[in-house]
């Protein structure tokens, strides 16, 4: 069957067997091997991708079912080759990863959470990654990474020295006027972390 998908913003097509999962199609037909194959029956979350922006398990969907949808994989997270997203960077900084097998799924689950909630509490973070198994970290640093990323994204638009960042404050500064820089997130985060967050 022919499937047409938008993957990380690019229109792609492939000829796949009906029984091929979206996970296998991403890895084999589109060579996007950042999406990891763990249990292949919906238990571990390693294969998490975003389907039309919502996190879902790519092993629990056939590629033909996904025809026409917008898929975001871990390869679509970084702003440019060789760079990291704010969330990926926070995972490095807090040691939110060891072997890295669960990491793409964790990052996408975190991305979906932070796209909806700018100040998630610990319970909301834990709930958002409750379907993702990590066998290395013990989860503590992953939760820490997501909280750190949330804080950075939340405060990224606040001009320094003008107003101290406040937890729970609106994501966009209501006083900032028309030119509140929606795309300024990465610049501000970069300013925070001259070496991408690592020493």
């Amino acid at each position: 069957m022919k499937v047409e998908l938008t993957i990380n913003g690019t229109a792609r097509t492939a000829e796949v067997e009906a029984r091929k999962t979206l996970l296998d199609a991403l890895r084999e037909d589109f060579q996007l091997t950042g999406t990891h194959a763990g249990c292949e029956h919906g238990v571990c979350g390693a294969c998490t991708v975003l389907i039309d922006g919502a996190p879902a398990r790519s092993c629990l969907m056939f590629a033909c079912q996904a025809d026409g949808y917008d898929i975001t994989t871990i390869e679509g997270m970084a702003p440019a080759p060789g760079e990291l997203s704010v969330i990926q960077d926070a995972f490095c900084e807090t040691h939110g990863m060891q072997c890295g097998f669960c990491t793409p799924g964790m990052v996408l689950a975190a991305h979906a959470l932070l796209a909806r909630e700018d100040s998630p509490d610990r319970a909301a973070i834990v709930e958002a990654i409750s379907g993702n198994i990590c066998r290395c970290t013990g989860y503590g640093q992953i939760v820490e990474a997501i909280a750190l990323a949330a804080e950075r994204l939340r405060t990224a638009n606040t001009p320094r020295g003008v107003r101290p960042p406040q937890i729970g404050a609106p994501h966009v500064d209501p006083d900032a006027g028309e030119d509140a820089p929606g795309a300024g997130i990465l610049e501000a985060a970069d300013a925070d972390m001259p070496h991408g967050g690592r020493p």
Partner: protein
């Protein structure tokens, strides 16, 4: 973990979908696929054809119809979870949905799919039975509504005819002014299959007396069941009275034993969780504008 080969079709009308099901004995309907796909992956199911209804027009959405809230079969669980209508009209369903699977399965899993799958420990079927919802099944001969209690026959067994498709679940909305609901379950780990689950919805008058009550228990037997605690109507729902009523009602429960929990354990936990659900529902009462 690769499914056996099958044919895939995505019909755009109910008639076409029913025709495929009628023509092929081993054809199966797929919507969210969050339970079916693992079964295919483990080759516990080998359908000849998958009939995808996830995007069929007219099967998705949440709407009020008189004193009923109608949830279309392919409405995703996350949509119901975030729905203002569900939060206002079906507090019990709103309380149960966060227990269904995990966030990334609720984005694909559907309300109708959970009912059609009929896992004895599933949350949405339990809410349907507790609130006396009607489940609508359609085939060539048209829509056939049936009471949830008649729809669920046993583990993964429902009254859907071979060429029928579940199209909607109709949940009665309580019109009392002060309603509360609570949902509890015990499982090995968060969001895993429940050994026992309890769902309660309660209405109280201005003096705090119970005017209406529904209690359901899931996971204990081979299908969700409603317990008769109507004796609590007119009481102030004090702890001792509730515990005695739930204890008496639970005597009728048929419980199964398996590797996870014995029948005795399940029955005991059902009493505890049932009483806890009623107590929390009674404490959670929200006053509603325009109710009676």
């Amino acid at each position: 973990m690769k499914p056996a080969p099958f044919r895939y079709v995505r019909p755009t009308t109910l008639g076409e979908a029913c025709a495929v099901l009628a023509a092929e004995e081993d054809a199966r309907v797929i919507a969210g696929g969050q339970t079916l796909v693992p079964m295919l992956a483990m080759r516990l199911a080998r359908p000849s054809t998958l009939v995808d209804i996830a995007r069929m027009p007219g099967l998705s959405g949440i709407a009020r119809d008189g004193d009923v809230l109608v949830i279309g079969a392919t409405t995703r669980q996350v949509e119901a979870e975030r729905s203002a209508l569900v939060a206002r009209d079906l507090p019990l369903l709103a309380a149960a949905l966060p227990w269904v699977g995990h966030p990334p399965t609720r984005t694909r899993g559907t309300v109708g799919g959970s009912c059609a799958n009929a896992d004895p420990s599933a949350e949405i079927p339990l809410v349907a039975v507790t609130l006396d919802a009607e489940i609508v099944v359609e085939d060539e001969s048209g829509p056939m509504p049936m009471l949830a209690d008649d729809f669920f026959i046993g583990p993964m067994i429902t009254a859907v005819p071979p060429s029928g498709i579940l199209t909607a679940v109709r949940f009665p909305v309580w019109d009392e002014a002060r309603i509360g609901a609570a949902f509890h379950e015990i499982s090995a780990r968060r969001s895993d299959f429940a050994f026992v689950s309890a769902a309660a919805q309660v209405a109280r008058d201005a003096e705090g007396r119970c005017t209406r009550i529904a209690l359901g228990i899931g996971g204990v037997g081979d299908r969700p069941v409603k317990l008769d605690v109507s004796g609590l109507i007119g009481t102030a729902l004090d702890a001792a009275t509730v515990a005695a009523a739930v204890h008496a009602a639970a005597a009728a429960l048929e419980a199964t034993s398996d590797l996870h929990a014995s029948a005795d354990y399940r029955r005991r936990v059902a009493v505890t969780l049932g009483a806890r659900a009623i107590a929390d529902a009674a404490a959670n009462i929200q006053a509603k504008e325009g109710g009676r």
